[in-house]
Point group: C2
Chain length 112, copies 2
């Protein structure tokens, strides 16, 4: 409870950013990576993650490579060419938003 720190709209960008850095990742790995990178502050829930991955795939930004590890199934996601382009856009947009918001709530510590 009380862990909705993940502002709506940022999940797609986070996924794209991670895939841009790590070449290929599977869902569970993404949740762990985010937890690790944010020291537990951001927790991606499965109910948010998987639909987001499916949407990004449907939009042609990701594609899947299924792998069998041991006896278990893994779906590795990679950026498509278009996905790489969109990552640049989304990251720029996110930076802009962060800067704007930072300026709005705390003008003294602007990022500029």
């Amino acid at each position: 409870m009380g862990n909705q720190k993940l502002f709506k709209g940022s999940l797609q960008t986070i996924i794209l950013k991670l895939l841009n850095e790590n070449d290929k990742m599977y869902g569970y790995e993404i949740t762990q990576k985010v937890k690790e990178l944010t020291k537990g502050e951001l927790k991606i829930t499965e109910g948010a993650l998987y639909p987001a991955l499916h949407k990004l795939e449907a939009d042609g930004l990701l594609y899947v490579e299924v792998a069998k590890v041991g006896n278990r199934l893994r779906k590795y996601y990679k950026l498509t060419e278009n996905g790489t382009k969109e990552t640049v856009n989304k990251l720029a947009e996110m930076q802009e938003f962060l800067k704007t918001m930072q300026h709005l709530v705390n003008p003294k510590f602007s990022l500029e």
Copy 2:
């Protein structure tokens, strides 16, 4: 189109922050102030603003003072005592989120 830069979940905090700085404001004034402060980058739509104000009021964080200016109605909003407390919390949460997100998407320019 393409102007959904306002990440969902940040509107309440923005409203509270502005009221904390300006003592009393009315709806239209808030939309203009945000536009001004962000140089047109964030545009608060009325369909988002008014329901948000009503919710904050219902939650006891704001109260209203109706004023008649010329022949027109204005509803000035002010922070309640509880609203002031919540503003502190929400701003801290926002700072935390911005820092985390900044760190996530661009570790090199961390705010710390």
